[in-house]
């Protein structure tokens, strides 16, 4: 049976993880490669690395990071941040990234999804989208949630799927950072609407929230950052709990 995936997300700035990290016995807590390996051993199913400072000029440093991660990691990983063109993706994939997350650039120019899917295959393309519930509608935001757009979430993700995205990574800005649970209602609606997997992001605060996102929210994967980084919830204990609750997970 296909397992529900647990995905820690690491925010990278200048090649270092930026959120505080609280792993015991970890000499260099800020090293994304070492942290990734630690999560992999703990049973993470995948990793997402978001370069929050990514620019075209930094493309090569990001590629070096992708290469370093790919060398040491035996689980799949996604790299995102600042991907604007085919050439950005090309260097990341050649370096060993399994998937690339595109966000603002694809919202601004959805044809980018077609180009990436055609060149590298649907499975490489994760369409990441940030949205906020505004005046009774889910509105898509750009640039890490700073700029509102005219796009509505559900029609955008449908379009992303039709253009060739292999997965959707949906972050609810209303839930992100609240630790009060995921946007399960919107996620369930999205899951019914789409035929590609959905990664839920934003709002994880405890183990129960993950159970809810997989049952009520019908998500295929749950992504979180701080609760894992600060050791509030261990990946092993989270997975044991989910297995006990009847959610299919890969136990290590």
């Amino acid at each position: 049976m296909l397992a529900k995936r647990i995905i820690p997300c690491l925010d990278i700035k200048d090649g270092r993880t930026v959120k505080g990290v609280n792993f015991v016995n970890l000499r260099d807590a800020g090293d994304p490669v070492e942290l990734g390996a630690k999560y992999s051993l703990a049973g993470a199913d995948e990793l997402v690395f978001l370069d929050i400072t990514a620019t075209h000029e930094r493309r090569d440093t990001l590629a070096d990071l992708a290469r370093d991660i790919a060398r040491h990691l035996n689980i799949p990983f996604t790299i995102g941040g600042g991907v604007k063109a085919l050439a950005d993706v090309d260097v990341l994939l050649n370096a060993g990234a399994d998937k690339v997350a595109v966000n603002s650039a694809a919202v601004r120019r959805p044809g980018l999804i077609d180009e990436l899917a055609y060149a590298f295959g649907n499975q490489f393309v994760v369409a990441a989208v940030d949205a906020k519930f505004t005046d009774g509608e889910w509105v898509v935001y750009l640039a890490g949630g700073r700029i509102a757009t005219e796009r509505r979430l559900f029609e955008y993700v449908k379009e992303a799927q039709e253009r060739g995205a292999g997965e959707i990574l949906f972050t609810s800005m209303d839930h992100d950072g609240t630790k009060a649970g995921f946007a399960n209602e919107a996620l369930a609606k999205m899951s019914d609407l789409l035929s590609i997997p959905i990664i839920a992001s934003g709002g994880a605060g405890n183990k129960e929230h993950f159970k809810e996102v997989f049952t009520k929210g019908k998500a295929d994967a749950g992504l979180a950052a701080s609760i894992f980084h600060f050791g509030e919830v261990g990946i092993g204990e989270l997975k044991s709990y989910l297995a006990g609750e009847g959610v299919p997970v890969r136990l290590v």
């Binding site: 649907n122 789409l194 997997p197």
Partner: protein, 196 residues
């Protein structure tokens, strides 16, 4: 020496990194002589069947792969290309395995691509991977599958089907999942193939 076949498929790099981690000598090559003389051959890849077959036919790799006598391991699209025909682009493939490749038809909300970790069920024909692999999770990314047949040594369930996730015929071995991305279980399977 292990030869990893270089052709127009994606994500070959991760197989090289896995071999590096295991510590076996390997080379990424499309040189027919180097491939023919290698102790073992890995045929990896992610890509579309029609365009990759066109490339393999034009470069003579189709004939070469078919004629190899040493152990050959096809991974993901590599496994599908070793079959007789693929529905993806309606193309004839290398034909080492008589099985056919078909597209998943989603049932009851199943998502396609089949993406993520799923269990591998070994059958009585398995004679190459450790028995403890039975029931373990491996990592999959694919929209097409191979029907279970006489070469199937392990199956996986998805979209209401028990399809072939590992195959073997003589010196040809294959896996639909990515052993190089399947944590310790995948590494065990690679080691079992490599004999290290």
């Amino acid at each position: 020496m292990v030869a990893v076949i270089n052709y127009n498929a994606g994500n070959i790099r991760s197989v090289l990194y896995a071999l590096e981690r295991i510590g076996v000598e390997h080379v990424l090559t499309d040189d027919h002589d180097v491939i023919r003389k290698a102790d073992k051959v890995i045929f990896p890849g992610v890509g579309a069947a029609a365009s990759t077959m066109k490339h393999l036919n034009e470069t003579g790799l189709t004939e070469l792969i078919r004629s190899l006598k040493q152990p050959v391991f096809g991974i993901c699209v590599g496994m599908q290309l070793l079959c007789s025909h693929s529905e993806e682009g309606d193309v004839d493939c290398i034909g080492v395995f008589p099985e056919k490749v078909k597209r998943f038809r989603p049932e009851n909300g199943d998502k396609v691509p089949h993406m993520g970790w799923n269990t591998v069920r070994l059958n009585e024909r398995n004679d190459w991977v450790s028995p403890e692999i039975d029931g373990e999770y491996c990592y999959y990314v694919h929209s097409y599958y191979v029907e279970a047949g006489s070469d199937t040594v392990a199956t996986t369930e998805y979209c209401g089907k028990e399809y072939a996730s590992m195959m073997r015929r003589g010196n040809f071995y294959a896996a639909q999942f990515h052993p190089e991305k399947s944590a310790g279980v995948g590494e065990r399977i690679l080691r079992d193939f490599l004999g290290v």
